[in-house]
């Protein structure tokens, strides 16, 4: 018995120029915030952009977007609804606010299913919001989408950066391209990770300040793009646009 889904995935993604996974071994560093704001920023600049939330058991992007009362359309697959200019796909269409207790094998299967049936159409960028850890989601992305590029998010904390280092080691070993590292939630006095990033041979894409205003902007996209975080991500977006795919 052959699983026919795998064979069609690259065809399904063939209309997409660049696929960027916003990733971090560590949880709570701002992956969802960066992924959502980056996608919105790229869309505002006139690019066609998709956002795919694959943190299936703890999705956040729908809350940041304030996405409500939207559903994909069934049409030769599933066509994602447009939310604030983004072709937006998430498991929440199918589970709502209910818990989705999925083991790794289920995460893998759900990811493959959505990659098989989602009709993204023509996009300049597909931004993928990842779960933390080094598990099924990242291993499947690497396996199924060879041309994926990683954008790594960390905080200045040793706990985050030590974890990120392991993920970078894994990606390097797998020869996956890394666009660079974003240092999120930087406090004024915090010792940065610019030097450390360089030592890993990675591009430092910039620091995003810790901005308490961000909380109030959750669910309000216009407000979000106007926070210090939104403004900084505009600069980071430029680097992302310019980045050539490069193996680390």
């Amino acid at each position: 018995m052959v699983d026919p889904r795998i064979s069609v995935i690259s065809h399904r993604l063939s209309g997409i120029s660049r696929i960027i996974a916003v990733s971090s071994g560590k949880g709570g560093v701002g992956k969802s915030m960066v992924a959502t704001t980056l996608a919105l920023t790229l869309a505002k600049s006139g690019y066609r952009v998709g956002l795919f939330d694959i943190d299936f058991t703890s999705p956040s992007t729908h809350i940041i977007l304030g996405a409500q009362n939207v559903q994909p359309k069934e049409e030769k697959g599933l066509v994602p609804p447009t939310v604030h200019g983004l072709e937006y796909m998430s498991l929440i269409y199918f589970v709502g606010d209910n818990p989705a207790p999925l083991r790794g094998a289920d995460v893998s299967n759900a990811l493959i299913e959505l990659l098989t049936v989602t009709q993204w159409g023509t996009l300049d960028f597909l931004v993928i919001d990842m779960p933390p850890g080094i598990g099924d989601a990242i291993l499947d992305l690497v396996r199924l989408i060879k041309r994926i590029e990683f954008l790594i998010v960390t905080t200045p904390s040793l706990l985050a950066f030590e974890t990120v280092k392991k993920q970078v080691a894994l990606l390097c070993e797998l020869k996956m391209p890394i666009i660079g590292v974003v240092e999120n939630m930087k406090m004024d006095k915090a010792k940065g990770i610019t030097g450390e990033t360089g030592k890993l041979g990675l591009v430092y894409l910039g620091e995003i300040p810790f901005d308490p205003q961000v909380e109030d902007a959750i669910g309000d996209v216009a407000k979000l793009l106007n926070t210090a975080v939104g403004k900084k991500i505009r600069q980071i977006a430029d680097s992302v646009i310019l980045a050539k795919k490069r193996a680390p």
Partner: protein, 132 residues
């Protein structure tokens, strides 16, 4: 008609296999659809017939239905999934992504959502017959 996307996957995969096996023409493709995903054979068949081309021109599609067995990881109970009990929205969610069954279905004995989908999950390519 999201079955169209699954049908395309079946044809893409079947074509790859036919090429590996150096088949010039495929005469029969056997597909297994699991009950959990509630893919309707007539809809799938229609999608396949619309899309089939070149080596599949004269292919027949046999679509077999597989019962769906779920097995609780906590208490070991195995049971047949009965999708008739589900409301329409839930059934549709599971139709699109079978794994969301873990959100809606519980073990009939102990109430746990931690069950294994032992068989009958989605769409499988079971066999291909053809001529070299």
């Amino acid at each position: 008609m999201h079955e169209w996307a699954l049908a395309e996957a079946i044809l893409t995969s079947a074509k790859q296999i036919a090429e590996q096996e150096k088949l010039k023409e495929v005469t029969e493709v056997t597909i297994k659809v699991g009950e959990l995903q509630q893919v309707e054979p007539p809809i799938l068949r229609f999608a396949l017939s619309q899309m089939k081309s070149d080596i599949f021109k004269s292919a027949k599609f046999r679509i077999l239905k597989a019962k769906s067995t779920l097995k609780c990881r906590v208490c070991g109970t195995a049971w047949q999934f009965n999708f008739k009990k589900l409301d329409k929205a839930t059934a549709e969610a599971i139709h699109f992504v079978p794994e969301v069954a873990h959100t809606y279905i519980k073990c009939p004995k102990c109430g746990s959502p931690d069950f294994e989908i032992v068989c009958g999950r989605g769409v499988w390519l079971q066999d291909i017959k053809g001529a070299k």
